[in-house]
Symmetry: C2
Amino acid sequence: MSDKVTSLNQHLAPIFDLQAAAAVLSWDQQVNMPEQGTEARSNQLATLTSMAHELFTSDETRKLLEAAESEVANLDYGGDAASTVRVIRRSFDKETKIPTTLVERETRAASQGFVAWRKARETDTFATFEPHLQELIDLQVERAGHLGYTEHPYDALLDQYEPDMTTAQVEALFGELKEGLVPLVREIAAQPEVNDDFLSLTYDDQKQWDFTLLLLRDIGYDFKRGRQDRAPHPFTTEFSSADVRVTTRIHPGAPQSAIFSSVHEGGHALYEQGSPEAFDRTALAGGATLGLHESQSRLWENQVARSLPFWYHYYPILQAFFPDQLSSISLTTFHHAINKVQPSLIRVEADEVTYNLHIFVRFELEKALVTGELKVADVPDAWNARYEEYLGITPPNDALGCLQDIHWSHGMVGYFPTYTLGNLISAQLYEQALAGMPDLEENYTQGEFEPLLSWLRDRIHKHGRKFTAPELLEREFNTQISAQPLLTYLRKKYSELYKL
Amino acid sequence: MSDKVTSLNQHLAPIFDLQAAAAVLSWDQQVNMPEQGTEARSNQLATLTSMAHELFTSDETRKLLEAAESEVANLDYGGDAASTVRVIRRSFDKETKIPTTLVERETRAASQGFVAWRKARETDTFATFEPHLQELIDLQVERAGHLGYTEHPYDALLDQYEPDMTTAQVEALFGELKEGLVPLVREIAAQPEVNDDFLSLTYDDQKQWDFTLLLLRDIGYDFKRGRQDRAPHPFTTEFSSADVRVTTRIHPGAPQSAIFSSVHEGGHALYEQGSPEAFDRTALAGGATLGLHESQSRLWENQVARSLPFWYHYYPILQAFFPDQLSSISLTTFHHAINKVQPSLIRVEADEVTYNLHIFVRFELEKALVTGELKVADVPDAWNARYEEYLGITPPNDALGCLQDIHWSHGMVGYFPTYTLGNLISAQLYEQALAGMPDLEENYTQGEFEPLLSWLRDRIHKHGRKFTAPELLEREFNTQISAQPLLTYLRKKYSELYKL
């Protein structure tokens, strides 16, 4: 690494320490913190975040960055030095474009917005949240103005979460996906209902926990560099590649919740544990975009852990954990039950097939909100109309409708599409993996995932944060993000399951 | 509060946030962190600590402090404003007297010293630690020179942990205490040995845990503002008065370990939870000196939880938890067993009577080391000779002798005396509490501790960090630190127990 890039890295390392410290405090808040610790914790997090921001956007950073840029100007951006500089430049430009006063107003609005949203959801009164949502949207429009865009203000917001992707590109992908999904959902709905009553029996908490640990270990999650805890809303967080933590939730009457939460978060965690040690405390450490991150969690959750070969191995083990509940249930019945397709109201509980329809609703509403085409007051009606159109059901109230997600209350607009981008990429990657390793899934019947993990390490994880999603697909697979692999995968899998 | 003091407080609040964040990271390291997380965590802690130090010792702090001082010059130092300024001045002078280069050398020496100490203890080779101990002592002598002292270099080191106390004062107190303790230990040794075999049976881990939670709840520890976890070396830590956490350890073959660890740490925690909310994020927050802190933990552990009235209430409950182990053991036998006096090699396992003898050894050696009277190479012999003299036993090796404690490996010299000062103060406070509430201990027979806790809140906790130990005793009780109350308490209690 060149001297100037090294100087830049040394300057930034303490800033990454501050961010990692904030991540520890946030993890603790969600996993351990006593209920009255909130106020002090907010102050601590605000201090760490604003110090990190101040140091990162300083003139010192600018000078070191410019010096480093002149040194790597003629190098390929795939190399560590040039890539480091490029990744830092992208963040630096974004963070310095936003005035501190805007960040402060956003923070205050989100803090109040979150409280109002929680109350609105509890009491099912959209009106309670409405003025806050208006302010939060206005602030995002302002943010988009500062960030800059050529075609659509949503481009600027989306770019924060999924750099290099535009609204027009996402529209095209989602349009293609919708065209394939809507008829598939309709065909499935015409089939007899799947029996999954046995999933509502009572499954011992501790045994569920032990089973998730077994799965995490088997897929390759390294407990010497991580741990699992419980959290109401499962998430993954990392403080270095050697300390990557997952969380799960356990519902006694729904064992699939813990199983797929753990494997999903495990997928995120494998990505972070696969970030090269040499990248620790640099801008290259960790996973790249949100879409790429979600591609990893979804691949392990869906393509792997909802597959039949996977359950050839694990279903007998699960039956041994829960003989009373499962000994009379066949593998086929179980496998179909955990892949039951049913249009429903809540995104986070949706199956693989209908999940993306939930995202389309949010994406379309967000776009219309930031251009002003849709008024905040009309969100409930617009939401419900689209649920009726895409999923054939109408939310009975706003709590189960447009108030269900936390994102807007935090001012996060442009985030939702990355979930579906992750689903698309997961299918593309899996198609590539199978093309290179036709017998890949036979490993699963032995509880063996090393070949898949090695492949992901080599093609995705080892790059850390170097590339955007389009760049990575181009460089590694000479392809672009596409909807066809997901449609092909879903059509094949569910035609077999539902005998379409 | 005056404007200038408010400005000073506002300037310092983010520094306290950084310190609290470091405390969270340190708690996490001891309670949760996966084994390979160490390196990243060290970097994160070093960054937080050095940023806090840099901000605290800045010219900005100096200016704000001087401005605030001129405003409070004529106020009594007991008031919030004047006390804040005084406490900050004390820390500021100490922290600015030590050159950054010395702190860096100390940090490096401690880091290497700790590794060498651990290895020396494992392999029982003092020689492995010897050069490191030499360096660590040399650095402490250098530190004492920077801090300044008039009589004894040890004064400067002691003052870091127990401000306002001098080596000469401690010598006088310890001398008096030793004169009373040595004959008491001899008299007890002449009595028949106490039966405590039943404490070595197997006690279920989870039940022990549940019993400690019950005790913590009953003594008044607020779980909405704290939690208990496990740690190999129990400790208490606080991130605000609303987030004060304790830890304990559980040995299946020694239930008293968890019980007294939890109550001991609970005593520390009650002190921190009793710090006024208004002091949060200011220099007045928390407990005052180490000696005062230890007085709180020891008072709850010894005067309360090792008393007979306490076990009138809790022994039947403990028997219900462990009927197989305890149903045939009488309260008298149990109470005597948990108060068994026996000279032993390890400080942290020592009983109330012999504990302070362990401290005398360390205090005397530390004094002689910093003046050069004692050579580092001669530490093992000096240690063993004193154990023979004070406790009548000679360590069979250095691992069980002078290598047993972690303190010196971290460069902490001057810390040990605060344990005994805490014991002295606990007895003084308890004597005062009993004088004011003669029926106090009857409450314990009902599992009722509110009167004692209220009294401690009112006389000790509410002052936060305002006063040093001598100041607090003077202001609240018009007295000085003294050895007599502890001697009186021990003589009375153990005369009854051992029928002396």
